[in-house]
Amino acid sequence: MVTQPSRSDRRELVHERIFTAAGVTAAVALVTTIVLFLLELFIASRASRAAFGLPFLWRSEWNPVTEKFGALPMIVGTLVTGFGALLISTPFALGIAIFLADYADRKLAEPIKYLIGLLGGLPSVIFGLWGLFVLVPIVSKFEVWFGKLVGSEALVASGTTGVGLLAAILLLAIMILPFSASLILESLLVVPTELKEGALALGATKWDAIQNVELPYVQKSTVGALVLSLGRALGETMAVTMVIGNGMKMPTTLFDPANTLASAIANQFLEATSPVYVGSLIQLALILFVIAIIINIVARVILRRGVQQ
């Protein structure tokens, strides 16, 4: 005898359908979000493309008064601060990760890891506040000292504000340090102990084992971690906005006030009134979005390969 499905069976079937639908909806929504961002930013920035076309990318004039806009100063500012910060913070990030993986015992490593998490969790605006009131005055003193050292009158006179590329680079370096250190540490921790012990048994010193066994093993995932950190640095907004000085011109030295793509938007969007100005700022956001998506996907692919190997 075939029994009719009971009431609770039917209810469960409905639950099952709703559940599946919710999962698929959420998953599709997540993927659609990226497309939605692209479309929305593309449409909202059309005034800028109509006025300047593709040369927007390499024109170096950004002038709100004459309404001539080119993104090159911001692109340069973004790349200089991003790579500068990465260059400064990478040796320290590697050092910290190696220290935690190979030198510190649990009792020491746990609190340090906690501190790294704490530093990484501080909001960008708080780094900005600290940068503006503590770091910038120090940079300003350094500028004057440096100006006297190289005998540059201009630097001594004009460089006394302290805001500019250098302050932004230093602040960014501090900000991405906990991020890259913890990513590198993660990959160091999966290196098989047998490999290291093998090297030690052959008479290698601790550092020999690290240099010749451990680091080559994590090469790929370290590159992935650094690319990911670079992505962070390129898109970092508030802290950079507060210390970079909102300079519109192409920077010529590290002491110049400048702008990154992100800081130009944060500094100027509320002042922008004409459609071309607004469109150009949104165009900057579009460029930043595309760069960020590409960098993140590349980094994840590298990281995944590193783990599989």
């Binding site: 997540l30 910290i96 993140n296």
Partner: protein, 278 residues
Amino acid sequence: MTPRKLKNSVMGFLVAASAVLLIAVLVVIVWHIFISGVKYLNWNFFTKAPAPMGESGGGVFNAIVGTFLITLVAAAIGTPFGMFAGIYVAEHRGRRFADVVRLCADALQGVPSIVIGIFGYTFLVVRFRSYSALSASIALAFMFVPTTTRVTEEVLNLVPSGLKEAAYALGARQSSVVWNVSIKTAAAGITSGLLTSMARIAGETAPLLFTAFGSRYVEWNMLRPMSALPLQIFIYAGSPYPALQQQAWSAAFVLVLLILLLQYSAKHLIARVLRVKA
């Protein structure tokens, strides 16, 4: 000492030195926030809205209310999307589309906050024709969803497959296995993930600049412009008045406390999960 051994000691020293340097930097930053923040704290700071221009006193009650409202609403909007997307990815592991969803979640995590702010402006503020706290919450939800997705997936993957298989063997459907077995086992982990994500969005400024916009008044209506602690810090930090700059430090102190509290609760929950497992 052979060169090899010398190198060993030197590198050991350098590696330890970099750790010390990190701690030093952290201590300096936290010390500044603590010292400068506590100095100007008083009861008015927590209970009053900003004083009218030119008058002294006043507080950031408006921003405290705003941060709570905007963060909670953003979490409420983002949680279902993030959790279900996470469940989807965890349940369909190995399938192409699940991989794509995971990659998208990772990529979205890396979207700069200012881009989210601009998107919130063009997508919501322009359409509603008004700055509003709700558009800020929706913008923040776009940051909240990808992190929640990844956390949910990771926690669900930790659920022992034996448990799930036992439920399936009893004839349970997928939805009931996920609800009654996986989610219940992973509940503390998921909650902890939600708290961590909340701690992250509570400190965000850039998505609020062109959506919540800020307000000098204590505002409870989500459809109107509203202030928030990060926003207030940014505005006061750029102010020429020392009194307002001091309030920026105090607001930073309060914000850091709030974030630490969220992170601490998250960590506490995780610790409990691990203890149960062991």
